[in-house]
Amino acid sequence: MQIRLITIAGAVVILMLIIELVRRRKLKEEYSLLWVFTAGIIVVLSIWYSLLVKLTHLIGGTVPSSTLFFFGLIFVTSLLLHFSVRISLLERRITSLVQEIGLLTLTSQEPEVNNAESSRSDRSDQPDS
């Protein structure tokens, strides 16, 4: 019984923390989704113990707590994967921005090439970004 109370309390604290962070704009709504989802699942499983037991049988576990760890691991892994994807995206954006800074600096140094034609610059090098 005690472990259930602790789990519920922990999940509720995480939920409140997430909402508070979103409120203070320290966390974008987009990133909060996975956290809120996981905290919700933990609350549900802690309250509804028989569901946890059923799930444990379903995945072939022996102890219900291992089921919680199992889902916890899935959560951590998906969050890390999500971050890797975001970092790749950010890296690509930074590369593009740094190149643009270099190009702009060079253009501004050379007024003769910075004519109407090149400032219109049709951006033909970036068809889809």
Binding site: V98, I101, G102, T105, S124, Q126, D128, S129
Partner: protein, 239 residues
């Protein structure tokens, strides 16, 4: 406006970039030269400018591929017709460039690559690991493209503008373009041609400096695999 631009990506090559630029000016006096200073901490920019090149300074170090790509973007926006590229470390001798531009015309190719191994005289001796990598991925590229490729990592190239424009998109890697990019070019309908060139051993630093061989192997296999898995997409902007 000049038709030719020579792009030279440089990272901390203050000792060599000046002579490379001078060498290019000697063989191609008509061409504009753009040195892309990839966030160097030495005198690269100053040396390049003193030798008569235009310098594109990147405020932070992005890597070989991304520095080259910045040069492609400049060339495309400035409406050049033909682009040549060589490394700043003195490994590539500029005197091959005029012949490569001629080949581009004569063979009606879109890209001409200077190959260290095509003439087979063994003048260029890379380390064993590099040799294995180059041999392996040349084979893979040759097989996939049904066209003999001997030196997919060569940074000595000349190309027509549609290729440079293609390289300005996100297809281009920020680290090192290799066999994967050649396969992608081939699948996108570009014509590739190799010519034999002589290269010196450079300053001891390979183009793949900081590249761990294992990571390199892994990256190339993965990159070639996903290139082949992607839908074949003929680049529209050709001609």
């Amino acid at each position: 406006m000049n038709r030719h631009i020579i792009v030279i990506p440089a990272f901390n090559e203050g000792a060599h970039v000046g002579s490379v630029v001078a060498g290019v000016r000697e063989v191609l006096p008509e061409a504009d030269i753009l040195v892309v200073d990839d966030g160097s901490s030495d005198e690269t920019s100053k040396e390049a400018a003193q030798a008569g090149a235009r310098v594109l300074c990147l405020p932070v170090n992005l890597g070989y591929g991304a520095a080259l790509q910045a040069g492609y973007k400049w060339a495309v926006r400035q409406r050049y017709m033909l682009l040549g590229q060589l490394d700043a470390d003195g490994q590539h001798s500029p005197e091959h460039l005029p012949r490569m531009f001629e080949t581009l015309d004569r063979e009606e190719a879109d890209v001409v690559i200077g190959s260290r191994f095509l003439d087979g005289d063994g003048h260029y001796r890379p380390s064993v690991a590099r040799k294995v990598g180059i041999a392996l991925f040349s084979r893979v590229a040759t097989m996939v493209m049904r066209q003999r490729i001997t030196d997919p990592t060569s940074g000595l190239q000349v190309m027509r503008m549609p290729v440079a424009r293609f390289f300005c998109t996100e297809v281009y890697p920020s680290d090192y373009p290799d066999a994967d990019i050649l396969i992608l070019l081939h699948r996108s309908g570009f014509r590739i041609h190799e010519v034999a060139v002589q290269m010196s051993q450079s300053s001891g630093k390979s183009m793949h400096r900081g590249h761990h061989s294992l990571y390199y192997m892994y990256k190339m296999w993965l990159s070639i695999l996903v290139t082949l898995l992607r839908r074949r997409h003929i680049f529209e902007a050709r001609s």
